[in-house]
Symmetry: C2
Subunit: 404 residues, 2 copies
């Protein structure tokens, strides 16, 4: 490779990294910029589908896409490696097996479980975080069912599943469990009423931030399908086979505990010396890290303020994808001149799947959708991303709603 | 029900019990005898297919048949219950939820794992014994693969599978693993060479009792597909994550240990006061328990001598099925008079499956079969039983080789 053309390095092939790479290949001719994408695996995965992998309602391979299927690897250098540290002052990235120099850096290294220092959370909580960790949850639940059928005097507690956190992921996950557990009960000849699914949330209601009607719809739908809710309940400690909740330190036994109650930026970002706000890089409106004109931080690693409301944007796929457009545009501007874009979120709506044919959410101007209509919209949203990433072929291959 | 017609009670719906019940319904008109079948589950399972369930190469439901699908439950009283104890002097069977009186009793309660007092065997060894226990093996192996992908610094030992015993079941099981493990490796993105499968046998060769050519064929086929053999090696102790072998007490680490090295009669038989020879009831040539003219013992609970060779018959499905014919005939003779039959085994051959398209064995007069030809014969043998039990419909539904 020649060295007189700008080197753009993208770290992480999540929503932000994949879409940025895609946009960069569209905005730059091959002779205008050298583009490198670094990722731990040779596949990209749909983080927003992992709760389905974790429940076992979709196969692992539905949730992942080979990077070489959607990124032209003759145009983009794809490096399968682990990022160890970023040295922004040297404009260098340290990988497990070498180093990479860059002129422009895009950090999209995603999130990890935030434990808020709750004892036992690190050791005993599963999290819906990567393909492998999500599959582990599915396998663990089945393992508990299998053990239940072979132990001498098994306790029903072995079958209890506790989900910590009733935010978007927690609710979508218990929705999938509501569909999955009856199937597992049939498979293992276990009466459904022996299996408890408990969703624990510290806030007074589930889905904080959602419209009251929507969250009531969700709660009704899920309660009817056998999900128990414990709101206004703090988790104090996690043990191997129980969680301790509330000021009275009540112990609730369980066979599986999944924590969806908090995420923070990949720890590499902090370890590389970037200044953090609540564990994320407080980027400017052009999505660059403070003090580094050539470093963009996107997705779950970035703390992006909504100027209108003066609150940060939530860590969603939709936002990460929109950030990618601004990032790619701004890198082109830095190289060829023009006006830098500021990020502003164009909210196309939010739909939460509740398992099976159930869903609810808002679209566009806050219009509410319920049930099958919402479910179809959810599929349209999922497929729109696949379409942007890989065109109609990818929608056909991995899509959920098949309009063709 | 009237009480002046003889009451025949069959305990256990394994090969012996199912086939005896079937034959009894054919030999007695409804007004001639009252037939009761007692079984823990509402299904019969093919014990000879369980090694495939354990490896994960066939689904659980392929291996089991609803009892009501093959036994006319208006003709036969089917009681789903656990046998707790037999009182042959009172002619009574104690069940978990009641008692049953009988005039004639057929005991076909099957086998359990024989541990020979090896320390740790009871707690840490899996066994290919029931549908649930076999599925547990499949789920445990997958669980280890899943853990391997999510632990911080996993050891390859977690993936090692040790099978104790290289008799018929042990060899058939490692044959299935040879097919299954590459599939699991692909599913979990794990290189095949990280997974070890070790078959440990105390005797100097695998498959003791088989012809030398046959067992060499088996060993070659399995070694080529990645099975390691340790013969002349005694297992001294089983730990949670290792087995200790030989006089030097060598430790071999593993993630899964499956014991196929010995079976004994269901412990209820001994606990009910029947006299035992090597853990089984030494029946006479008419298959009746010593001292009890009205109690027949069949299958893995029975010690049946081959008068010609003065050795006991091995515990196989083929023998259990043939015993059922003699038992049903003899019960009819006891009621209506005639000559009691003596059991003599008509050896139709033995074929061992080695996984995939591989098999080997002998048929009829000792003629040897290998590879696909043997595999087809194995399917014919499996299906012949289904045909006897449930006619062509059952062969179509559950059969392996579909000649229709």
């Amino acid at each position: 490779m020649t060295t007189n053309i700008p080197r753009i390095v993208v770290l992480g092939a999540g929503y932000a990294g994949m879409m940025t790479t895609k946009r960069l290949t569209q905005q730059f001719a091959p002779e205008e910029a050298e583009i490198t994408l670094v990722n731990k695996h040779n596949y990209h995965y749909q983080t927003t589908w992992l709760h389905e992998v974790a429940a076992g309602t979709i196969d692992v391979n539905r949730s992942r896409i080979m990077i070489s299927d959607v990124i032209n690897t003759r145009r983009v250098n794809f490096v399968q490696d682990m990022v160890k540290k970023i040295h922004p002052d040297k404009k260098q990235v340290e990988l497990e097996s070498g180093t990479l120099d860059y002129d422009y850096l895009v950090i999209g290294l995603g999130f990890e479980k935030a434990t808020f220092g709750i004892p036992g959370m690190d050791e005993h909580a599963f999290s819906i975080q990567t393909v492998d960790k999500s599959r582990m949850i599915r396998d663990h639940i089945e393992y508990q069912f299998s053990r239940y059928k072979t132990e001498e005097n098994p306790s029903d507690d072995m079958l209890t599943i506790i989900v910590g956190g009733a935010g978007f992921t927690g609710i979508e996950f218990v929705g999938e469990l509501a569909e999955r557990i009856p199937v597992l009960c049939k498979k293992y000849d276990i009466p459904r009423n022996r299996v408890k699914i408990i969703n624990i949330e510290a806030a007074p209601s589930i889905l904080p931030g959602f419209d009251q009607e929507l969250l009531e719809y969700a709660k009704d739908s899920l309660s009817r399908r056998g999900i128990d809710f414990l709101t206004s309940t703090m988790i104090k400690e996690v043990k191997k086979d129980a969680v301790i909740v509330g000021d009275e330190k009540e112990e609730i036994k369980c066979g599986t505990f999944v924590w969806t109650g908090g995420v923070q930026a990949n720890r590499i970002v902090g370890e590389s010396g970037f200044e953090l706000t609540k564990g994320k890089v407080n980027v400017d409106q052009t999505l660059r890290a403070p003090g580094y004109e050539d470093v963009f931080v996107l997705g779950d690693c970035a703390w992006v303020m909504n100027k209108d409301t003066e609150t940060p944007y939530p860590p969603t796929a939709q936002i990460a994808i929109q950030e990618a457009d601004v990032c790619a545009h701004n890198i082109r501007t830095l190289i060829f001149g023009g006006t830098l874009q500021e990020f502003f979120f164009d909210n196309k709506g939010t739909v939460a799947s509740l398992g099976g044919g159930e869903a609810m959410g808002t679209i566009f101007d806050g219009h509410q959708l319920y049930g099958l209509q919402a479910k179809m919209m959810k599929h349209v949203i999922d497929d729109r991303y696949l379409f942007m990433l890989g065109g109609p072929a990818l929608v056909l291959k991995k899509g959920k709603f098949r309009p063709f």
